[in-house]
């Protein structure tokens, strides 16, 4: 018998394993994409510190996430949608922006007040989006009210933010924090940075905000992952509530977006799901977290993707649409009483799952 060891694994070992497995999984996917087309683009409405705004969301194809190429996050299948191999040129990126603007012109009556740019990596990482491109994009959207830019915390830098605030665009850096708990982020998500890095990024954004003065606001929007693999439903809920609370407490972080995990192809989560080892979170869990954190000092939103399907967050099929609607409603109004309007017999099942699911019997339901 070995002696009890409080910390029972070597830090790096887990990461190596995750990466090795994820690399193998991702390698099964064969696809490549045109660097002159954005990965995706769509129009929507979003709650922002300045109220609910019409939004244009752009998934920029930037050659993909470096981390993902090393293996990457256990739930993330986006990498494979990026350009194979290297980086994307300035021209190509700007072509992508043009495509997006055309989409907007074709589908909306007026320009969106809010622009959101994601890259499946870090917009602020200059190896992905060079300074030239960043500045050009800042200029392109100079007439908009607000912009959201995705980045890992390492790359958050007041100078880069200033490329947008200088055009009086309120600027939010979207950070895929996933959870405030380093252990879960490392072991379950396989994301390598720490909460302290996030706090540093927030401080940087706060600084940028101060520097921008009244012209524009700058801040951090934290993206959290509801129910990473290996956690039970109740562990996921608890981790999420505490993560939201901790994020909201950080100066500079004004919004938290909770993303319920969905099962993407060519991910470790998919492997688990395929072998009955993973179930996406209940929509009740999402609603519950929103209710429980309604009074934190931040906007908390969630936009469950693929709700109601087996691979997305879901309840019992009967009530999925209703609960999803309440969540979207909450996103806009931040009013927890919206959840009082929905109920379903399956809430009892969910409660039992919270009470009884253990990591050695999960998932208890399909």
């Amino acid at each position: 018998m070995s002696k009890p060891t409080p910390d029972v694994y070597e830090q790096g070992k887990g990461m190596d394993a995750h990466n090795k497995v994820m690399r193998e999984i991702r390698s099964r996917k064969e696809a490549s994409y045109d660097p002159h087309e954005p990965t995706r683009v769509w129009l929507d409405e979003d709650n922002t510190p300045g109220g609910v705004k019409r939004s244009l969301t752009i998934i920029l194809n930037t050659g993909g996430c470096r981390w993902a190429r090393a293996g990457g996050c256990t739930m993330c299948g986006y990498v494979a949608e990026s350009v194979d191999g290297g980086s994307v040129s300035h021209e190509a990126l700007m072509n992508q922006i043009d495509v997006c603007l055309e989409h907007e012109a074709d589908n909306a009556d007026e320009p969106a007040e809010l622009i959101k740019i994601y890259t499946s990596g870090s917009f602020l990482d200059e190896r992905e989006v060079g300074a030239e491109t960043r500045r050009a994009i800042g200029e392109t959207f100079a007439d908009r009210e607000r912009i959201v830019l995705e980045s890992l915390p390492d790359f958050v830098d007041r100078e880069k933010i200033a490329d947008f605030t200088r055009h009086s665009i309120d600027t939010d850096i979207a950070i895929g924090l996933e959870t405030a708990t380093d252990r879960v982020r490392h072991d379950c998500v396989n994301k390598y940075f720490d909460f302290a890095d996030f706090e540093d990024a927030c401080a940087e954004a706060a600084e940028a905000n101060a520097e921008a003065g009244d012209d524009a606001d700058a801040g951090i929007k934290a993206y959290l992952l509801m129910k990473p693999p290996f956690l039970t439903e109740s562990e996921a809920v608890e981790d999420m509530i505490s993560s939201i609370e901790r994020c909201a407490d950080v100066d500079g972080c004004h919004t938290v977006s909770m993303n319920p995990c969905n099962v993407q192809r060519y991910t470790m989560v998919d492997e688990l799901y395929f072998r009955d080892g993973y179930r996406p979170p209940w929509l009740w869990s999402v609603a519950h977290v929103l209710e429980q954190t309604a009074d934190v000092d931040a906007i908390v939103v969630s936009d469950p993707v693929g709700h109601g399907s087996d691979r997305g967050p879901h309840n019992c099929q009967d009530c999925d649409d209703r609960v999803q609607k309440a969540i979207k409603d909450f996103d806009l109004r931040q009013d927890p009483t919206v959840f009082e309007q929905v109920s379903c017999e399956c809430e009892g099942t969910w409660e039992v799952v919270l009470e009884r699911e253990r990591s050695f019997n999960q998932p208890l339901t399909r």
């Binding site: 070992k13 394993a17 956690l231 998932p363």
Partner: protein
């Protein structure tokens, strides 16, 4: 060291055990109320809990659900601390190892439940990795329908969880189905939860009912294990879900796992009610022993006869009539499905005396194939001056003719077409076919019987090695074997057709060329039982019910095994064998 779990009864891979907590619990059982989970290391760092003897503590764990890659399992593997209270380690069925705990929870239960081959592979893998006297826990999967098969495969502990969850989902569980509650016009159950009007019956009540049904089924399972009849139950129960039948069949394919755990004798009937009975260890082992260990010692003609429902056969009316015609001039061998062939000397052995089959007179092709192959192997090994088949048309004659052709034999048939073996004409033919043959004496019969049983029990040639120069006393089937000096060597035990050795017999056995099964013990003189901790080593060939030589620095004895060999080696609790005779050295 498993201080807190002990196996009390075995039935194949299933066991009745005892969780030795402050209030002991008999397994297979639900353990919800005594299970304390110290928590998952995925979500937080955890201290090793205080623990106590009233609960079974699940030590801090990283569980790997189904689909977790081997590299991830390896790199995140947890070393469990050594604690002095009842504890559980969480292991994945793919990478289970011995952690010194009393019980093991399998982390990928949800992936293996519902798939026959996966379940069996998981249980067999895990059981191989953990000591025999530790409990196996499946959390979150037990239902009234599947729990018998899970226990049959070798799982000891369960919980209410799946029953409750399904109930809350509106599934009404019975031993045969998971009915949609809304489809039920009335509640087919008499448990307290179901004692209310249908329209007032909620999903919470449904959950309660499900737990009641599960508890009741576990009661049946425990009783069946004690009775040595769980397999008979499972041959019916498994039919209610395809994957359970698949699991039962897959387990039959795990010969090594199942054979080791199946006693060589038992005071319980074997129901031969389905085609799967043929694949039971007891049936296959009997056929194997009859065709590789047993040897006919009579020089008379072979008389093949059909089996009888009455056991032992010689007490049936039909066999009495055969005997009246044969008059000890032929060697009677009974043909039977699903046992194969049973020479007269072995009619009392297990399970020749204990099986009971469905009587419709119809033979399946698989039955015919099995019995033919056994008869063929039997006749390849045993030569007779003449072979008489005193069998009816249906099934029997078919089989004999197949073997006759395959081995190019010449067989005399004494039952006319369409006739019955007990018809006067048939019996007259039988007698006529034996006319001129010499009768063998009672002494020859008895000597050959104990020799045959020795072959069957101990190995090819054992009968001659041990019992060349003997005399027999007392009446069949309670024959006593004595040497020329009248010292008793062994007694035939008629309930199972086995032999009980005396100390003198045991010594003769040890000195002979016949293979012995030995339990090596510490320096003490055992009386009554030898407990597992006293066992230094044991032959891996030992099966429950085997006659064993028990020897240590201070004692020589003979007794009967209560565990199988590897179980004796790896157990730290429980009775390894019962001593019949012992002497100090």
């Amino acid at each position: 060291m498993t201080d807190y779990f002990e196996v009390h009864a075995r039935d194949g891979a299933a066991r009745v055990g005892e969780l030795r907590l402050e209030s002991p619990r008999t397994t297979p059982a639900l353990v919800d109320d005594v299970l304390e989970d110290a928590g998952s290391l995925w979500s937080a760092d955890r201290d090793v809990p205080e623990g106590d003897e009233s609960t079974l503590t699940v030590l801090p764990h990283r569980a790997f659900p189904g689909g977790t890659a081997p590299e991830v399992q390896e790199s995140f593997a947890v070393d469990y601390p050594d604690v002095d209270y009842p504890s559980v380690a969480v292991v994945s069925s793919e990478h289970a190892t011995d952690h010194g705990t009393d019980a093991y929870a399998v982390s990928d239960v949800q992936s293996i439940t519902g798939h026959g081959a996966a379940l069996v592979e998981a249980v067999v893998n895990t059981r191989k990795a953990i000591p025999a006297d530790t409990a196996l826990l499946f959390s979150g999967v037990a239902t009234p329908r599947n729990v018998a098969v899970l226990a049959y495969a070798g799982v000891d502990c369960f919980d209410e969880t799946a029953a409750v969850v399904k109930g809350m989902e509106g599934r009404y569980l019975t031993t045969d189905e998971a009915y949609f509650l809304e489809d039920l016009e009335d509640l087919p159950c008499s448990c307290p939860a179901c004692q209310q009007p249908r329209e007032e019956f909620t999903r919470k009540d449904c959950a309660e009912h499900n737990v009641n049904a599960l508890e009741a089924e576990l009661g049946i399972v425990r009783r069946r294990i004690r009775d040595g009849r769980l397999r008979d139950y499972v041959e019916g129960q498994a039919r209610h879900d395809q994957w359970l039948t698949a699991a039962m069949r897959e387990l039959d394919s795990q010969w090594g796992y199942l054979e080791e755990r199946t006693p060589i004798l038992r005071d319980a009937q074997i129901n031969a009610a389905t085609e799967d009975t043929i694949r039971r260890v007891e049936i296959q082992r009997f056929a194997d022993r009859v065709t590789t260990r047993y040897r006919n010692r009579f020089s008379n003609p072979l008389v093949l006869v059909p089996c009888s429902a009455t056991k032992p056969y010689s007490e049936s009316q039909s066999h009495r009539q055969f005997h009246d015609a044969v008059q000890w001039r032929g060697h009677l061998v009974s043909m039977t499905s699903p046992i194969g062939v049973v020479p007269q000397e072995l009619e009392t052995t297990y399970p020749a005396q204990q099986y009971d089959t469905v009587v419709t007179g119809r033979w399946s092709e698989d039955e015919k194939g099995f019995v033919s192959s056994v008869l063929e192997r039997y006749l390849e090994r045993n030569e007779y001056p003449k072979i008489i088949a005193h069998v009816p048309d249906e099934g029997y004659r078919d089989i004999v003719e197949r073997v006759e052709e395959a081995l190019d034999l010449e067989i005399i048939y004494t039952v006319p077409e369409g006739g019955h073996p007990t018809d006067d004409e048939s019996l007259a033919n039988l007698s006529a076919a034996l006319s001129g043959e010499l009768k063998y004496a009672k002494r020859e019969r008895e000597h050959n019987t104990v020799r045959a049983i020795a072959d069957y029990l101990l190995g090819d040639g054992a009968g001659d090695d041990l019992f060349t120069d003997i005399q027999t006393t007392s009446r069949y089937p309670k024959i006593q074997v004595r040497d020329r000096e009248d010292t008793q060597l062994a007694t035939m035990v008629p309930q199972y057709g086995t032999l009980s050795f005396t100390l003198e017999g045991a010594k003769r056995w040890v000195d002979s060329d016949a293979p012995t099964k030995r339990v090596e013990i510490d320096g003490f003189v055992p009386h009554g039982s030898v407990l597992a901790p006293g066992v230094v080593d044991a032959d891996e060939e030992i099966r429950v019910g085997d006659e064993v030589i028990v020897e240590g620095p201070k004692a020589f004895g003979v007794g009967r095994a209560e565990m199988f060999g590897r179980e004796m080696q790896s157990s730290t609790r429980g009775i390894a064998c019962e001593i019949r005779h012992v002497e100090e050295k």
